[in-house]
């Protein structure tokens, strides 16, 4: 082995404290980035997941001006012929008023979003039925599922209670109907129907006098990465209709935009953390160099060139970077596995969508490795400035 590499290794491993400190600095830098990724990217992806699962599917179809008047069955059949499509379901929504008498007291709530669903297809295309924590999802023409917040606002509506619902039909007439509460919906993270009432889509069509009309179609795919393809295929197939087709991301762009810049900022903080660990390496290596002043002088006296000294200390930077990147990545992945296995949730409610982004993992490891080498440049350069006469010094 080259004596410079041997010396670099020995000097470092004989200074366990310095080695440990430097490796720890790199490790923490990497860990911060991994933890940030798990939490904030996980949160972002969880929100996208919930929007997709509860509200938009992978592709959502609406009509540019009005309601979709194609029949449910024909559109569903059209979509389900595409192999990558798992299911499609129609939805219709409007604003409503509700009132309920509880313990002899009448409580009235206005401007409540009322969503009509097709119970058979909805459970195939959306997981929103899983958020029904008490009772069951809409199953008959006069059953209603209340979002937990609506139930609370109505004075504590429970399964079995009766609610009066008012909607304005297409002719401007009030239409009132009594429903029985069959379930309460409460989604972790609140992206579900927590602020809505959910009824059978045909009941809502009746009340609104909109027979055969649909507000939107949620299309669920087996593979989200095909969303754009399906969307474009759909638009090409119906060129003469005023359909709008959007992927989850397109449909929720407004909701996600702020979040995106938040993540960018969190990433910045992570990179600042990495910079801080680079400074820690500079400090630790300066200490190493200062502690070896005389020995560096001895090496120079017996013939080591400036370049040789430079190589020794830069190699130390590489060792620190390599071990740090290894330990840091292992720790980061450990945290990620832990988050995934324990189904870690944000704020104790919204389960994070934990993914392994290998590109980012490798990029982070590589970057901290390179940063450690860059950090070692200055101490290494200082070491080369030490003169051979240092060996002669008697104090």
């Amino acid at each position: 082995m080259d004596y410079r590499i041997k010396l670099a290794k020995r000097m470092l491993f004989n200074q366990k404290g310095s080695l440990f400190g430097a490796v720890l600095a790199v490790t923490i830098g990497i860990l911060v980035i991994h933890v940030n990724f798990v939490i904030f990217q996980g949160l972002f992806d969880a929100i996208v997941r919930d929007i997709s699962d509860y509200n938009t599917g992978d592709v959502i179809i609406t009509d540019e001006f009005d309601f979709i008047d194609k029949s449910d069955q024909s559109l569903i059949r059209w979509f389900e012929r595409i192999p990558v499509v798992q299911a499609a379901t129609p939805r219709l929504s409007t604003s409503s008023e509700m009132n309920m008498t509880k313990n002899g007291k009448l409580i009235e709530e206005t401007r409540i979003s009322l969503v009509g669903v097709d119970p058979f297809n909805d459970v195939r295309a959306s997981t929103v039925h899983e958020t029904v924590t008490e009772g069951s999802y809409v199953f008959s023409r006069n059953s209603i599922v209340l979002g937990s917040n609506i139930a609370r606002d109505l004075g504590g509506a429970q399964v079995g209670d009766s609610v009066k619902v008012l909607v304005v039909d297409r002719w401007g007439q009030d239409q009132i109907k009594r429903f029985t509460v069959t379930g309460i919906a409460n989604s972790p993270g609140g992206q579900g129907f927590d602020y809505s009432g959910v009824i059978h889509i045909d009941t809502l069509r009746d009340m609104m006098s909109r027979h055969g009309d649909t507000g939107s179609f949620m299309v669920k795919l087996y593979d989200h990465s095909k969303a754009l393809e399906v969307k474009e295929f759909f638009l090409r197939s119906f060129p003469n209709e005023d359909f709008i087709a959007e992927t989850t991301e397109e449909a929720s762009e407004a909701q996600l935009e702020g979040f995106r810049s938040g993540i960018a900022m969190i990433n910045m903080i992570g990179y600042f953390g990495m910079m801080a660990s680079a400074f820690a390496i500079v400090t630790i290596q300066m200490m190493l160099v200062n502690g070896k002043t005389r020995q560096i002088g001895v090496m120079r006296s017996i013939g080591a060139k400036r370049k040789d000294i430079l190589i020794i200390f830069i190699f130390q930077g590489m060792i620190i970077g390599a071990i740090g990147a290894g330990v840091g990545t292992a720790a980061g992945l450990g945290y990620t596995v832990y988050a995934k296995e324990t189904k870690m949730s944000f704020n104790g409610s919204l389960p994070l969508e934990v993914t392994y982004n290998w590109e980012k993992v490798i990029q982070t490891a590589l970057m901290s490795f390179i940063l450690a080498i860059i950090a070692s440049l200055y101490p290494s350069y200082r070491a080369t400035k030490l003169l051979p006469v240092e060996a002669m010094r008697s104090v």
Partner: protein, 233 residues
Amino acid sequence: MSSVLEINNMSKIYGEADNRVKALDDVSFSIKQGEFVLIVGSSGSGKSTLLNMIGLLDHPTKGKISIDGIDTTTLNDDKISSFRNKKLGFIFQFSNLLTDLSVLENVLLPLQIGGNNTGEKDAMDLLKAVGLEDQIYKRANKISGGQAQRVAIARGLINKPSIVLADEPTGNLDSVTSATIVQLMKSMAKKLNQTFIIVTHDREHFGNVDRVITIKDGKAFEGDMPSEMEITV
């Protein structure tokens, strides 16, 4: 016999203006191959400065140093490093050794710095000659001061240098150990016909040597210093 070292009109001035110290003042002498030379003189007289110049560890302000007939004043830093590696051996007063390496690795280091990865047998032979054959795998910070100086002697000899330079090699040792180190250097010099230039305060321990150069106020004089000077040391 040819001369391994030739010094012509060499001066060394440290500092500037008010802080100016003339550490060496127009020194000239030459040393022949195989000579065992002591450099003596009172503290601050300029002995270490002289040895630094001969060892090419620092540049003279004026004058010329030739080693093995090569004028060293014109060499650049890398050439000087190679030159030190091939032509000179060093024994310092303190902390001679790299504490991260073993005794054997320390002795091999000058060879490896010179790009030669063989020579283990030569190193073993030298370590045997200095009486450390049973310590070769010990880490260099786990041996005594006297043993460290023996290792330094072996390391100083491994490249078969033209000159071995030592600055107070016994300055840090007790008197009994000093005497054995002195005897070791003298016997190695004789055995290998090796030139030694040794700065020392320990004149008595060395007894008879080939040559003594006394430094006084930066000037070099042939022979032992007068006894009245020793009192001031």
